[in-house]
Amino acid sequence: MKPAPFEYRAPESLEAALDLMAEHGSEAKLLAGGQSLIPVMNFRLAQPAILVDLNRIEALDYLRPQDDGSLRIGGLTRLRQVERMADLPRHSALLAEALPWVAHPQIRNRSTVGGTLSHADPAAEVPAVCLVEGARFRLARKGGERWVPAADFFRGLFDTALEPDEILVEVELPAPRERTGTSFQEIARRHGDYAMAGVAASLRFASDGRIDEGSLVFLSVADTPLVASEASAMLAGEAPSESLFEAVARHAATAEVDPAGTIHATPDFTRHLVGVLTRRALAAAAKRANGEGETT
């Protein structure tokens, strides 16, 4: 089995890659880690005329902690490399917890941050993490660039704000906030398989011990990572309790997600998983916000 024929280009600079995309636009496809693109090319579901391989652009491969506590990650940085960053939990405990759930180590050795975000698979972990963390993405095109917040980036199934000639070149994760705890929960049939359902959660507390702000984003339940704004709003101003988390989980599972179901999980079962994972995530996030240590 082989992909259909294509013209292969491997630019060594971002400028050269942007020139190629400006010239060829939707005729061309960007190759980053290739862990999603090459399978669909092997099946000939994708038959790009021109393949622009970004892997020779070393300038896009970096992890840059900033003085203000934020973290900048180059688009071509491998997920495995991010996972191995010793300081990662200080920048984003949520990303550190989520990364081992992304497929298998062999896949994470190739997968890139920019690739998984641009591909926008609704079952992917990193997009949900970026939404909860309030990350933003730098998109470059020939002669310019723009920053797009994660909240405006994911448009539909495998569809994003990226124009055909744009490349996602950098992710900025903001500095962690005080009195905030996060949790990532996922259920798959086998570790590394696509999630049947998953959730990324964060809880920020006010100084009086009440919840200041809550955020819940689900994966594998819709065409995009699903921001559960109603369930998240139910958390604000409340004192944390099992019954609150139970009510929020029930609302998310019954009113906010509308899963289509898959061969492995019916819609009802997916809703059940959403409820269970939400309760677990909120309890874990609350504990961590209060400095009660890891529970995983």
């Binding site: 294509f6 292969y8 290739g34 090459i38 399978p39 092997n42 391989d53 180590p105 062999q106 896949i107």
Partner: protein, 164 residues
């Protein structure tokens, strides 16, 4: 068909050169162009792990890389584990043999190329860690138990040697 490239790559310590189409997968390049048929192809879409090789030292699926992407890189395949043949197997291969960690053997090269770097990074893994490490490789014969046994045996032998 017109888009052909010359690929220069170091495989198991030896420089190799071959011309190939841009669309040739690295797995097919190793097998057909370089004659290294130890790397097996199963699903050819990244699920089964049979084609796992080391690419610049890291285990990856060779069916999800193009041969042209290997230009200038370093590759290790299962053939490199026992360059002197069957009398001098790699310690993990020995352990697979001792514990019946293979039956038909089709998946074995992929397991070995996944687990050799895993053991280097984690010389004394727990059973849970071993099972997580091999979760990206499919075996339809063994039920995995004997593969887990093999990894534990190889780890124990190495620890015993180191401690002696």
């Amino acid at each position: 068909m017109s888009d052909r490239h010359t690929v220069r790559v170091t495989v198991n310590g030896e420089p190799r050169v071959a011309e190939t189409e841009a669309r040739t997968l690295l797995s097919d390049f190793l097998r057909h162009d370089l004659g290294l048929t130890g790397t097996h192809v199963g699903c050819e879409h990244g699920v089964c792990g049979a084609c796992t090789i080391l690419f610049d030292g890291e285990p990856v699926r060779s069916c999800l890389l193009l041969a042209v992407q290997a230009e200038g890189r370093t590759i290790e395949t299962v053939e490199g584990l026992a360059p002197d043949g069957r009398d001098h197997l790699h310690p993990l291969q020995e352990a697979f043999r001792e514990t019946h960690g293979l039956q038909c053997g089709f998946c074995t090269p992929g397991f070995l190329m996944t687990l050799v770097p895993f053991l280097e990074e984690n010389p004394d893994p727990t059973e849970h860690e071993i099972r997580m490490a091999l979760s990206g490789n499919l075996c339809r014969c063994t039920g995995y138990q004997h593969i887990v046994d093999a990894v534990q045996l190889a780890a124990k032998k190495k620890t015993d040697e180191g401690g002696a």
